[in-house]
């Protein structure tokens, strides 16, 4: 099937060349998806999807044009080629606009677990049921399950360009998601848990269900906290959210466009010596792993911050050409609807030596932050953040009472420098991962 679809991409590339494009690239994908949502033991939603599409990028007169379509009929693809070439006429020329050349080989990755496809829909429904059941059985205060879902998908990606790249790969993933409400004395609190993996055998619905229930139940009775500056311990999910804020600033694109906090600081200390930040597009088992990026460059491992010292930035072919370096394989495409922009793949903080329990035990007074609200309102350019938060108060090294209705505020650079503890419990949430992190002092308002 894929050889047929690659032919459509090749045909589009040739068509664009015949219309005057010096270089052209076709990115084609074919995906399948299944979502099962269960409620009170019954299937609430069963969603199946098939999606295909082609994105065509052309370079004509050093200008880039792009168009995409989900309709792959010949006459539509022909129109697509004409549209991409005419779009190029309205963009600004740049000598660094170019496509990558073919490479001898790509990393060989284990991305396609046949067990995901082999499992029946009934087995998958059963898994979602087990997820919901384990959450309800964890504690009688778990009152309502908002969503208990099993989700999987597979995708085939093909990439061709006029310089001779012709490559493809196939991948599959599966995951569980649950969000629920615990209630006591008329007060309701929410909890959720999520686990996505490349291996069907690694899914553990009982564990995920319990985690969500525990998160909701432990928040019952939460009150606010007076404004103060305290050490905070960030759960992996929360820490990964803050790490996500750093992603854009660690791209060469942001540096070249003067909107990176890290511009001109390679070799300098930008974080606590305990902090090492890595991006690895070829990581074993990574949700964002693929043999090549969105423009056909091999993926790989890039250490961005090592022991607190800034090492470098992520590149795609364009930003690399600007600086005369090689792409790091970070030309990331959201889908066939987008061009390859510099972005993170499997992006994480390397785990340290302390267990999360030790980090809490060694905190005389502080706040264990379990959830933040409004992370998307933080400013990745200035690094300023002020987000709503919930958590648990730490007193004499012990988690004492739940806290809600507060905000935590600061600047991400100060936060990085003030990290004084990195846990050994690295956990991934999609493409972003972090262990538990302790930060020396953060402004809390309540």
């Amino acid at each position: 099937m894929l050889s047929g679809t690659l032919d459509i991409a090749l045909w589009a590339v040739e068509k664009a060349r015949s219309l005057g494009a010096e270089q052209a690239e076709g990115y084609i994908s074919f995906g399948r998806e299944l979502v099962v949502e269960v409620r009170d033991g019954k299937v609430e939603t069963l969603k199946t999807a098939r999606e295909q599409g082609l994105g065509l990028r052309v370079i004509a007169g050093r200008r880039v044009g792009f168009a995409y379509t989900s309709d792959l009929r010949r006459e539509v693809v022909e129109e697509l080629a004409a549209r991409a070439v005419s779009n190029a006429a309205s963009t600004s020329p740049d000598p660094c606009n170019r496509l990558p050349a073919p490479v001898p080989e790509y990393p060989v990755l284990d991305l396609y677990d046949r067990a995901i496809l082999a499992a029946t829909v009934e087995e998958k429904i059963e898994m979602a049921r087990a997820l919901e059941k384990s959450a309800r059985e964890y504690d009688r205060r778990v009152r309502a399950v908002e969503t208990a879902a099993y989700h999987d998908g597979e995708v085939e990606v093909g990439l061709v360009n006029s310089l001779g790249i012709k490559a493809s790969y196939r991948g599959a993933y599966c995951g569980l998601y649950i969000s629920l409400v615990a209630e006591e004395d008329g007060e309701a609190q929410t909890g959720f848990a999520v686990d996505y993996t490349l291996k069907f055998a690694l899914l553990d619905p009982v564990k995920v269900g319990r985690e969500a229930a525990q998160k909701a139940v432990r928040m019952l009775g939460a009150r606010s906290l007076a404004a103060q500056r305290v050490p905070v311990v960030l759960e992996p999910y929360v820490a990964a959210g803050f790490l996500g804020l750093l992603g854009p600033a660690l791209t060469a694109e942001a540096v070249q466009k003067k909107r990176s906090l890290f511009a001109g600081r390679v070799g300098q200390e930008v974080a606590s010596p305990q902090v090492t930040v890595v991006d690895d597009g070829a990581m074993e088992g990574g949700l964002a792993s693929a043999p090549f990026d969105g423009e056909g460059v091999p993926t790989g491992r890039t250490v961005l911050i090592e022991g607190g010292i800034l090492q470098g930035f992520l590149h795609n072919t364009y930003t690399a050409a600007k600086e005369g370096v090689s792409s790091t394989g970070n030309g990331v495409r959201g889908s066939f609807k987008a061009t390859p922009e510099v972005g993170t793949t499997n992006f994480f903080i390397r785990p340290g030596a302390s267990s999360p329990e030790e980090l809490i035990r060694n905190t005389p007074r502080g706040l264990y932050v379990t959830e933040v609200l409004g992370m998307h309102t933080a400013n990745p350019i200035s690094g300023d953040f002020s987000v709503g938060a919930t958590g648990i108060l730490i007193e004499n090294g012990e988690l004492t009472r739940p806290v809600r209705g507060i905000t935590i505020a600061g600047n991400i650079l100060d936060l990085l420098k003030n990290i004084d503890g990195v846990g050994n419990d690295l956990k991934f949430f999609g493409g972003k991962g972090s262990p538990t992190i302790r930060v020396a002092g953060v402004s809390v308002s309540g």
Binding site: K42, T45, V64, T69, A88, T91, K258, T377, T407, A409
Partner: protein, 473 residues
């Protein structure tokens, strides 16, 4: 027509092969344009064609949904077969005549974006770039301007024999300006969007929007850090409606209410806000970003009063949540695209204006925080706790607008804040946004008059006590 009526009937018939209470199909043909400028260069001119159909069967509490890009007879019947496969009952007979429904409102598009040349659209982002740089000089480090338009044609048909054809045209424009001085970096943002064509840029001129964004970024360079603590807050009418969207809008969506995930569940007919508060969602307002003639399951749009003089009067329903209560949908079933099933969503949500002069409100409040522009927000509907970002804020000192502050976030609890609304102005200002829920983004707008809230948590890095004039309550 995207798909012939005869084929639509066949598809619905196939979908109900194994039973079901309701079946529908949503066919979409969407053309998009996206243009972006950064660093003085027009970087991207993207065109998209998105074609697909979503087919749904509802049986009791179960929904089966499938979508495909393949609009051929085989493609659609195959998807319908997959949807039917979720059930195991007897065939549901449905005799369909597919009567075409007429909209309750009509909107006029003055200048269709698909008839405007790409060069002209690209000039708009260049004008914004020039204007921002002229307004701010050397301290302007970066200008990002984006233009987008969408022409979405849809056909909807269902087993009740209803058939709807519609076309939605939306245009948007946004400018973000980055200003810096020394090591301090700040950003200003301004956006406009509407169910409208290219005429949007006549009412909201790119250069004027760029100047506003540039002035905001420059102002923030001079601003002091926002205080932290609880204090009275005045939201200016021009600030937009992020608060009403988060503090009560989401909690009034019927799916969350029915699942017991909203603080407003089981409160219909009860007092949930101060007497002066009336909240309305009205997708029939002409030319707003969240306007529509039909929702995304073929129900004509209508104005819905959600809270009237403090009393909760209605929730926002789609077909599925409405049928659970044996009532009709009030036209709030929306979806991002054919790839998603419809769920209850907001359109244009606003707090009805009152009678007071906005300046009088500030004078009365004496000391607190004035929000001149709101940014994004988020809510936990179960607890009602929400936050939103203050894009432009000032201290109120002795009844006057004082110095600008930066980095403030406001946090509160929906029901508490609604009860704590003390004064309402006679103005009304809209902002636009893409509202995310269950992984689906839909265009919305929201608005508020100038409002005085007795107390909110202001999350800043400054210390309230040290700012002298700000009284902590």
């Amino acid at each position: 027509m995207l798909v012939e009526k005869g084929l639509l009937k066949e598809v619905l018939d196939q979908a109900l092969e194994k039973g079901g209470d309701f079946a529908d199909i949503f066919v979409e043909y969407k053309k998009t344009t996206g243009i972006s400028l950064e660093g003085g260069r027009v970087e991207r001119v993207h065109s998209g064609t998105d074609v697909g159909a979503g087919i749904r069967v509802v049986s009791g509490d179960t929904t089966s949904y499938a979508y495909t890009n393949d609009l051929s007879r085989e493609g659609l019947l195959q998807a319908a077969g997959i949807v039917a496969h979720a059930f195991s009952g007897p065939r549901k007979e449905c005799s369909l005549d597919l009567r075409r429904l007429r909209p309750v409102v009509e909107f006029t598009i003055a200048e269709r974006p698909d008839e405007v040349k790409t060069e002209q659209k690209a000039r708009a982002v260049q004008e914004a770039d020039r204007a921002a740089r002229e307004a701010g000089g050397d301290r302007i480090k970066q200008v990002i301007a984006t233009y987008g338009d969408v022409v979405q044609k849809v056909v909807m048909a269902n087993s009740r024999g209803e058939y709807v054809e519609d076309e939605r045209i939306r245009t948007r424009f946004a400018v973000q300006v980055v200003a810096a001085e020394g090591s301090l970096i700040q950003t200003g943002y301004e956006a406009a969007g509407a169910l409208a064509g290219f005429e949007l840029l006549k009412e909201h001129q790119p250069a004027a929007m760029a100047e506003v964004a540039a002035r905001r970024a420059l102002g923030l360079l001079e601003a002091r850090p926002a205080p932290a603590g609880r204090m009275p807050v005045v939201m200016s009418g021009e600030a937009g409606g992020t608060m009403v969207h988060e503090a009560c809008g989401h909690g009034l969506e019927a799916d969350l209410v029915q699942k017991g995930l909203s603080v407003y569940a089981r409160k219909k007919g009860q007092k949930v806000a101060a007497d002066i508060v009336t909240v309305i969602d009205d997708p029939t307002l002409p030319g707003r970003y969240g306007s529509y003639r039909f929702d995304d399951e073929g129900v004509p749009a209508r104005r819905t009063v959600l809270i009237e003089n403090g009393e909760l009067t209605d929730y926002m329903y789609d077909r599925v949540t409405a049928s659970r209560e044996e009532r009709e949908s009030n036209g709030h079933g929306r979806r991002e695209s054919y790839q998603h099933k419809p769920i209850p969503r907001m359109g244009n949500t606003y707090v009805a204006p009152g009678k007071m002069d906005p300046e009088e409100i500030i004078r009365e409040v004496k000391n607190g925080l004035l929000v001149k522009k709101m940014g994004g927000g988020q809510v936990n509907t179960t607890t009602g706790d929400f936050v939103f970002d203050v894009a432009e804020g000032y201290l109120i000192v002795d009844g006057d607008v004082g110095p600008m502050v930066r980095g403030a976030t406001l946090a509160g609890n929906g029901p508490e804040v609604l009860r704590n609304v003390r004064m309402i102005g006679r103005d009304l200002g809209f902002t636009i946004g893409t509202c995310g829920k269950d992984g689906q983004g839909v265009p919305v707008s929201d608005a508020q008059p100038t409002m005085f809230i007795g107390e909110l948590v202001v999350g800043g890095t400054g210390h309230a006590g040290s700012k002298g004039k700000v009284k902590r309550v």
